[in-house]
Amino acid sequence: MQQTTTISSITFTEVFSIKDGAIYQSDSEGCWYIDFAGKLARFDYRNLLKLKKAVYQIDIEDKLLNNGPSADVEIIFICACDHCYVLSLLQIIKLKELLQGSFVMLELNHIIFDRLHRIAS
C-alpha cells in the first residue's frame, strides 16, 4: 500500500489502482491525483467527495438496459472543480470501481491511524 512515486517535486502515495487508472494521495498538498481517462487531475477533499457522489449516482443498470437514442456517454461535471470527464459507460464502471477501491483504502488508512497512531503512543 505504501508505494510512493515522485513526479516532479511532489510525493505521491498510491491509494488504489486498477488496470486502467489509479488514485494517488499527496500528503504535502493534502489532496489526491486521479490518473484516469488519459489525464492526471488534482482533487481536493471537497471535490473528491463531489466526484464520488456524481459517479455513484449514475444508474449504470438503467443505462445498460436503456437502448434509447441518447449517446452512450456521460459527462461528469463538478461544480467549482477544473476537471470534467466525458466517459463511456465502460469507463464509468471502471471509474466507479477505482473510487470504491480508493475509499475502502482511505477508510482502512483511517482505521490504522486510529488504532496504531492515535490510541497507542
Binding site: M1, Q2, T13, V15, Q25, D27, G30, C31, Y45, R46, L49, L106, N109, H110, F113
Partner: protein, 176 residues
C-alpha cells in the same frame, strides 16, 4: 499516508448523510405544521393555529441546529427540498393525530442516528443528539396531551371550541 478525510471532517460520511436526511425531515415537519396552522386558522381554531405556527418555528430552529452542526464539524450541509405538503385535513382531530404521528417518526429517526453513532463510537455527535432527545420528550408530550383533549373534553356541542382554547395552554415543565 495522512488521514486527510478525518483531518477535514469529524463526521463519517454515513453520519453526515443521516444528519442531512434529518435536516430534510425537520424542514418537512416545519412545513407540515405551517400547513396545519393554515387549516386551523381557516376553520376558526385560532389557538391551535397559533400553536402550530409556533411548532413550525421550532422545527425550523431544529433544522438549523443540525445544519450548523454539520458545518461546524467540517461537513457539507445540504439545504433540502420540501415537497408534498398537504393542504386539507378531514377533521380537527385528524390534524392532531398527524402531529403526534410526525413527532413519533422524528423521535425514531433521531434514535437511529444515535444507533449509528454508537456503532462507530461517535460520542461527540451522540452528545449533540442528547439535546434533541430532551426536545422530543417535550414534543411528544405536547402532541399527546393535545390529542387527549379530544377524549377528555369531547367534540360535541362547544367541545371543539373548548379543545381549541386548551391547546393554547399546553406546556411541558418537567424537572426530570
Amino acid at each position: 499516508m495522512k488521514d486527510i478525510i478525518r483531518i477535514k471532517c469529524l463526521l463519517s460520511s454515513d453520519v453526515e448523510t443521516l444528519i442531512n436526511q434529518q435536516i430534510k425531515k425537520e424542514a418537512h415537519s416545519s412545513a407540515i405544521y405551517l400547513s396545519m396552522a393554515s387549516w386551523c386558522n381557516r376553520h376558526g381554531y385560532d389557538f391551535s393555529s397559533d400553536y402550530f405556527f409556533k411548532q413550525a418555528e421550532e422545527e425550523r430552529a431544529h433544522q438549523l441546529k443540525f445544519y450548523k452542526y454539520i458545518l461546524d464539524m467540517g461537513g457539507t450541509a445540504i439545504s433540502p427540498e420540501v415537497t408534498n405538503i398537504k393542504i386539507e385535513y378531514n377533521s380537527f382531530r385528524e390534524v392532531f393525530e398527524e402531529a403526534l404521528d410526525q413527532e413519533i417518526n422524528i423521535t425514531q429517526s433521531i434514535k437511529s442516528i444515535a444507533a449509528r453513532c454508537t456503532k462507530e463510537q461517535d460520542y461527540i455527535t451522540l452528545e449533540f443528539l442528547n439535546w434533541f432527545f430532551r426536545e422530543q420528550r417535550e414534543e411528544e408530550y405536547k402532541a399527546r396531551r393535545a390529542l387527549e383533549l379530544f377524549d377528555v373534553i369531547g367534540e360535541e356541542g362547544t367541545g371543539k371550541w373548548q379543545i381549541d382554547k386548551h391547546v393554547g395552554q399546553i406546556a411541558y415543565n418537567s424537572e426530570a
